[in-house]
């Protein structure tokens, strides 16, 4: 009961019983939700790990290529080469609902369909290392997008799982035991009241008999 005062009335008892039924049902549902979220989360996080390793490796390699390209070219030339990009990426995002968690789903569109538009410079004055570097980055880009989608999904799901877990625990270890204890307390109290009323009535009956007919209790 944890120190809370409850009114030992029949109305309170019905109310608490209803509350307990709701709590038990809620607990079961939340537990199912947590289990399913956890299953999907673990799948997703494994995928996330795999993608991240691949992306980190890809970007690392691309960075090395860029470093080489920079070494072979003047800074100004490089800056002008990448100053005005021809290609432009835009992103569409849909919210996908996974067990009431909204996770984003990305699709990207390039402005022009031509894959070679990532080379926004004339080839005459730039080193061929730059082409390779830009290409290696372009290769890793689809993975980067998948990583963004996956990682964000994981983060959002992790937050939701934590919340759900707390709710399940609160229901299981606090709410439900407390309600059960209260219900027990009230039903005991009601039974006790009923017994005491019974006894009182018997006593009154005895007293009234004695007064009317002079009967005495045979035991006295």
């Amino acid at each position: 009961m944890a120190g809370t005062q409850v009114n030992p009335t029949r109305m309170e008892l019905t109310r608490l019983k209803k509350k307990l039924a709701t709590a038990t049902r809620g607990h079961k549902l939340l537990k199912d939700k947590r289990d399913e979220l956890m299953r999907q989360f673990l799948d997703k996080v494994r995928e996330n790990k795999r993608l991240r390793e691949r992306v980190e490796e890809g970007i690392g390699a691309a960075n090395k290529n860029f470093l080489l390209a920079r070494a072979g070219m003047q800074d100004q030339v490089l800056n002008t080469a990448l100053l005005a990009p021809k290609q432009r990426v835009s992103l569409e995002s849909e919210a996908e609902n996974v067990m009431s968690v909204e996770i984003p789903k990305f699709t990207f569109k390039t402005r022009t369909p031509d894959q070679n538009d990532i080379f926004s410079y004339g080839f005459a004055f730039t080193s061929s290392d730059l082409d390779g570097a830009v290409q290696s980055l372009a290769d890793v880009f689809p993975d980067m997008l998948a990583l963004a989608e996956c990682e964000k999904g994981c983060q959002l799901m992790a937050v939701e799982i934590e919340k759900t877990r707390r709710r399940v625990n609160a229901l299981e270890h606090v709410m439900i035991p407390e309600l059960q204890a209260n219900i027990k307390y009230i039903s005991m109290k009601l039974d006790e009241n009923e017994r005491s009323t019974q006894i009182r009535l018997m006593k009154v009956k005895d007293m009234m008999l004695k007064e009317a007919h002079g009967y005495d209790d045979p035991l006295n």
Binding site: M38, L42, V45, R46, N48, K49, R52, E53, V55, E56, I59, G60, A62, N63, F66, L67, R70, L78, L82, P85, K86, Q87, R88, V89, S90, L91, E92, S93, A95, E102, I103, P104, F106, F108, T110, R111, I118, F119, S120, A133, V134, L137, A138, F141, M144, L145, L147, A148, E149, E151, K152, C154, Q155, L156, M157, A158, V159, I161, E162, R165
Partner: protein, 106 residues
């Protein structure tokens, strides 16, 4: 229709401009924080951020974590992989499961 931004030191990110992403070269954490906040308010779906910069902006990243968009994703910069990105994934696992059960299998 969303845009994709890349945030970090110039050397690490200038290549992304060629792909058609929008690059925001920043050198100090203060500039980075300001730029990231700007991107969060604008129409950006994904913000890639170099790990070195992400480390400086941990509180800002924390703020973006629970929003649906933008997805702020750390990527390794030109100075190499600091392991921050994989640590963030680890943190998600720890938050969800209670202990790290994915990455400690060596």
């Amino acid at each position: 229709m969303y845009k994709i931004g890349v945030l970090g030191d110039r050397d690490s990110i200038y290549g992304f401009a060629a792909l058609g992403l929008e690059v925001f070269p920043v050198s100090t954490p203060e500039d980075g924080a300001r730029a990231l906040r700007n991107l969060c308010d604008q129409n950006y779906g994904i913000v890639y951020i170099t790990e070195a910069m992400a480390e400086e902006l941990a509180p800002e990243l924390e703020r973006c974590r629970e929003n649906l968009l933008p997805a702020v994703i750390p990527i390794p910069g030109v100075h190499g992989n600091t392991g921050l990105g994989i640590n963030m994934v680890k943190r998600s696992v720890e938050q969800a499961v209670g202990s790290d059960i994915i990455f400690n299998q060596k």
